[in-house]
Symmetry: C2
Subunit: 337 residues, 2 copies
């Protein structure tokens, strides 16, 4: 088994590419805010998937570098905008881009990221095909983010569209649909891009797609679990942020609703629906959640999707790349940060 660190370190090859595309056609005075987001770090899971998927299907790391850069840029593009949309002031322990430089600058940087994605795609093996997939993927991301916001149970009183369309009932299917679009689609695309960079045969691309879709959903379920039960020291994020953000679109909260008798659920629902959730209520919410089997059930769900991803790997050639994809799925199935 390839150790995880080594695996994620593969993405080190992508770092200079990220800067290269971001600094293309960029005024020196604009460089600092442009590089701020990407230099904050992150796990670089998506480019690692692209590179490893390329290796697994007979390609090289070099062939997959522009594609790997494009998916990491797409991820950061979405983070810049998510932080604006969610009014988030901190990410990875530092001010978010809009908080640090201001809203106008953050929006301009985001547009700049999108064009850097296009410039990365120009250097892939099949720009036309990659470009088409990226456009579809980013439209899915928009749709997933739209649903995630509509699943919030309070806030955004100054947002007429959200107030009007807000969902009071969210089923497990609604959740899985939202999560596939918000997170799964780009992770799926990261895997497909690896296969396309290797010019892999269609059946292998199909297997990578299935692997990516499943691992993507598992990844987001993991994010939801970590949000509620994570340790702040390990994650750099505040515990229970999704509760403060009124999110019914967190699997742990959703499964809690499913488990509780109506009286207790009403108490939790009322906390989620408060304009501001005070610390006392946050604690009570965590208490209620912990009194159910929601954590266990969320973990089962995460494992089920991670296992589905691993199953898809049987249709790929047995080689070091495929075994690294398995390691990545196991990381996603169990990660606590």
């Amino acid at each position: 088994m390839v150790p995880l660190n080594e695996l994620l370190r593969l993405s080190a090859h992508v770092e200079p590419m990220l800067e290269k595309y971001l600094l293309k056609d960029t005024d020196p005075e604009f460089r600092e805010p442009v590089l701020y987001q990407i230099k904050a770090g992150g796990k670089r899971l998506r480019p690692a998937l692209t590179l490893v998927a390329s290796i697994a299907t007979g390609g090289s790391i070099e062939d997959a570098l522009p594609a790997a850069a494009s998916v990491e840029l797409a991820h950061n593009y979405s983070l810049i905008l998510d932080d604006i949309i969610d009014h988030s002031e901190l990410r990875r322990g530092r001010p978010t881009l809009w908080k640090r430089y201001g809203l106008a600058t953050a929006i301009l940087v985001a547009v700049h990221y999108r064009e850097s994605i296009a410039q990365a795609i120009e250097e892939t093996k099949k720009p036309r095909e990659f470009s088409e997939i990226m456009a579809r993927t980013l439209k899915l991301l928009v749709e997933g983010e739209r649903l995630d916001v509509l699943f919030e149970q309070a806030g955004r009183q100054d947002e007429p569209y959200v107030v009007e369309k807000r969902r009071r009932v969210v089923t497990l299917n609604d959740y899985l649909d939202m999560v596939y679009k918000k997170t799964g689609a780009l992770i799926e695309t990261s895997c497909i891009f690896g296969g396309l960079s290797a010019e892999a045969e269609p059946s292998w691309i199909k297997a990578l797609e299935e692997y990516g879709r499943n691992i993507g959903i598992a990844f987001q379920v993991g994010d939801d679990i970590i949000d509620i039960f994570g340790r702040e020291e390990a994650t750099g994020k505040k515990v229970g942020k999704d509760i403060e953000e009124h999110k019914l679109g967190n699997i742990v909260i959703l499964l809690t609703a499913d488990e509780l008798a109506s009286r207790e659920w009403r108490e939790l629902a009322e906390i989620l629906a408060k304009d501001v959730v005070p610390p006392r209520d946050l604690e009570r919410a965590l208490q209620i959640i912990s009194s159910t089997r929601s954590r266990e059930r969320a973990e089962e769900l995460r494992k089920r999707y991670a296992n589905a991803a691993i199953s898809a790997l049987q249709r790929l050639p047995a080689n070091e790349g495929t075994s690294m994809l398995k390691s990545l799925a196991e990381f996603v199935a169990t990660r606590e940060f």
Copy 2:
């Protein structure tokens, strides 16, 4: 001479394409906010330029439709974001997208527009070439908008980057550079896209590029003049908005600075630098501006660029398309709305 109305009406062919790309991969519940911006209307100058440039260089309207749609979508993409950046609440007499639906929805719609541009480009003759040019153009737009914001003389106290980098001195060259990037580049690209759709020879593309760059600058100079001297009934915009927005990057204000003795300029500069410009000061500013030859000189500048555009047409074949491009340049040179 082809009448202007008929010319701009050419763009009617583009309308169904705009909807087609915007509604691709779009949830029914999202359609209303997505179509809101494009349905507000507008002159549709950019797609008209693409179609006419195609005709002028031996192509057809049909061949140029996807490219024409892409530039109009790009224009509207930038308008959605500009309205957020400038906190503008009204456009063409109705609430702006963010004001009508909320910030989160407006940002998601903007991202959706960018992907619709990519989907339009997929259907052009040379997606790879069009895509590359569009990416470069949108990075220029970002840069132009960044400069425009930095040329503001007050406001944005909550935007650390702007406060730190704000420019106190703006030369005519700074202005022309900013205006080419903010407005000229996309108009230039609209013309080039017409020539590329017609698969025109390189020297014709060069001529279209020169035509477009010059007409683009003339167009923005016209916008600046209209902002200060327009009639509200004709423009649907408030007179002197650029003064309220503290913009030293308006050619009329810039030329006024150049003409005035330092005492009077200081008075105008102080008005521009007020956090809020009260109606009395706005009126006084317009009075000061009118006491100079700045309007005449701005009109001369606009004509000079429009004439440069018309000169470039001599390198194109003499045909109906080229004569329509001349009509469009004459419209841009004199328009009052």
